[in-house]
């Protein structure tokens, strides 16, 4: 069935179809409508979800955590400062293996205050242990939301997951999308597998939120670090099952004209679409360019990135966030780490673009590809980090 909806409304609809047991949320721009529309479904009796209207995002994530640890299917939505305010609980949710799915309409962090598209919020959450899916379009955001439930709750995974899409550029855009029937969604996700230990299991008393000092902390953290190794397989299995149901096939990454590409742009979310259009235009001029779009950012797909970039000569990484005081933007640092010990590796450069919702235009992307070609002539990207579209 086709519908034309604003992405936020579409995601609220996906949540209605999922019908989580518990949603605890505090609305924040630009994901407000997700919470607003979903709470309307609750008020109208369209879903049986327990909706917890909390007084802050910190409390939202705390309530989600407790509900999830008792075995409930749990979702929330946030952005920017809201996600930042959840920070403490994000770490606890991941380490506690609470498979909460959180919708994030990516938005810039303060200061200065800004409500527009930017990846600083979820990039800031990259060390919290949450899994992360990223979406170029409304259709992908819808499809990722449904798949995220099945990935996060899989007994081989049991980690919380962020479902990202760009604030305003995507969240407030109306797109015609293909949606599933309610019962197709419910059959696909099934019921949440019963956890081995649960807060409400009075037959088997268990201590949650425990203390582990010098004698045990490292063992807990090593066990958590190892558990991410199962995630990619589950992401691909879920994508296969979803393709059978919908005909829409997803991977860990998306290659766009990479096979013979000399200069490759690495992009996330909506800018990947602009980058693909630019590649089409440049290909007509005979330029061998391509785009690598990252769908699964956590766990970071190191092997897949190496494979995708093995023929590239120059790689321009587009960062819609910055690591202040660090060597480059966050995505660049991850891609560079994936490539560091490869014998044959492309030249790598970082391009900071679109902060605080500034438009990322095809002209700017052309300029980035040009810089890639110049790097090939010079033998290096100089400087390593380039700010694109900033007044100088």
């Amino acid at each position: 069935m086709k519908v034309a909806l604003e992405t936020n409304q579409l995601i609220a609809l996906a949540m209605k179809q999922i019908e989580p047991h518990v949603v605890a949320a505090y609305p924040i721009t630009p994901s407000t409508e997700v919470v607003q529309e979903f709470s309307q479904y609750v008020a109208n009796g369209d879903v049986r979800t327990e909706f917890v209207p909390v007084e802050s995002e910190h409390s939202a994530m705390s309530a989600c955590l407790a509900a999830s640890l008792s075995g409930a299917r749990v979702m929330t939505a946030t952005a920017s400062q809201g996600l930042a305010f959840m920070w403490e609980m994000l770490h606890i949710a991941a380490a506690s293996r609470a498979p909460i799915v959180t919708i994030v309409a990516n938005r810039a962090l303060s200061a200065p205050i800004n409500i527009h598209g930017d990846h600083a919020d979820s990039m800031g959450a990259r060390d919290t242990g949450w899994l992360q899916l990223w979406a170029e379009t409304a259709q992908e955001a819808y499809d990722n939301t449904i798949q995220a439930i099945k990935i996060a709750e899989d007994p081989r995974v049991r980690f919380p997951m962020l479902v990202n899409y760009d604030g305003f550029t995507t969240s407030h855009a109306v797109e015609t999308v293909e949606i599933l029937e309610d019962d197709q969604v419910r059959n696909f996700i099934g019921s949440i597998p019963k956890p081995q230990y649960s807060l409400l299991d009075t037959e088997h008393p268990t201590s949650f939120g425990v203390l582990a000092l010098q004698d045990y902390y490292m063992e807990f953290r090593k066990a958590q670090a190892e558990a991410y190794k199962n995630v990619k397989d589950v992401v691909l299995e879920v994508a296969d099952a979803y393709a059978k149901l919908t005909g829409r096939k997803y991977g860990i990454l998306e290659d766009y004209k990479l096979d013979d590409a000399d200069v490759v742009l690495v992009a996330m979310n909506s800018a990947a679409g602009t980058a693909k259009d630019t590649v089409d235009a440049l290909r007509k001029e005979g330029k061998k360019v391509g785009v690598l779009k990252i769908r699964l950012f956590r766990p970071f797909p190191v092997e897949e990135i190496r494979e995708a970039l093995k023929n590239a000569k120059a790689v321009a990484v587009m960062d819609r966030a910055y690591t202040f005081g660090g060597p480059a933007g966050p995505l660049f640092e991850e891609v560079a780490t994936a490539m560091v010990n490869q014998n044959q590796k492309p030249l790598l450069g970082d391009f900071v673009t679109g902060l605080g919702g500034r438009d990322i235009t095809t002209d700017e992307i052309k300029q980035i590809f040009d810089t890639g070609y110049k790097a090939l002539e010079k033998g290096a990207f100089e400087p390593l980090v380039n700010w694109v579209g900033v007044r100088e």
């Binding site: 293996r97 008393p205 949650f208 425990v210 045990y216 066990a223």
Partner: protein, 94 residues
């Protein structure tokens, strides 16, 4: 107790049993005041047993019999909640 390796731990940050602080971490050194009960006047309502955050109230046959001073942090909750005020918080002598 043999210390577990990372791959022997249960999933998440849990201990698959309750009341496990006893015997694993001795917290007596955290106390400034320690609770002392006058059992002659105790009415064995067990409020302290319910409210103690550290399972440090010892009970037998449904009766309050004293404290586990290895597990007691000296928070004073028991003295506060006791309805007949028979628990005194006494300064630790060190």
């Amino acid at each position: 107790m043999k210390e577990q390796k990372w791959n022997e731990l249960p999933e998440g940050v849990i201990i698959p049993e309750g009341g496990n602080s006893q015997g694993s971490y001795i917290v007596a050194g955290w106390r400034t005041f320690k609770p002392v009960v006058n059992l002659d006047k105790c009415i064995h309502c067990m409020t302290c047993w319910i409210m103690c955050p550290d399972n440090a109230i010892e009970a037998k046959g449904g009766k309050m019999i004293g404290f586990d001073y290895e597990a007691c942090k000296g928070c004073g909750v028991c003295a506060e909640v006791c309805p007949v005020k028979v628990i005194d918080m006494v300064k630790e002598e060190r």
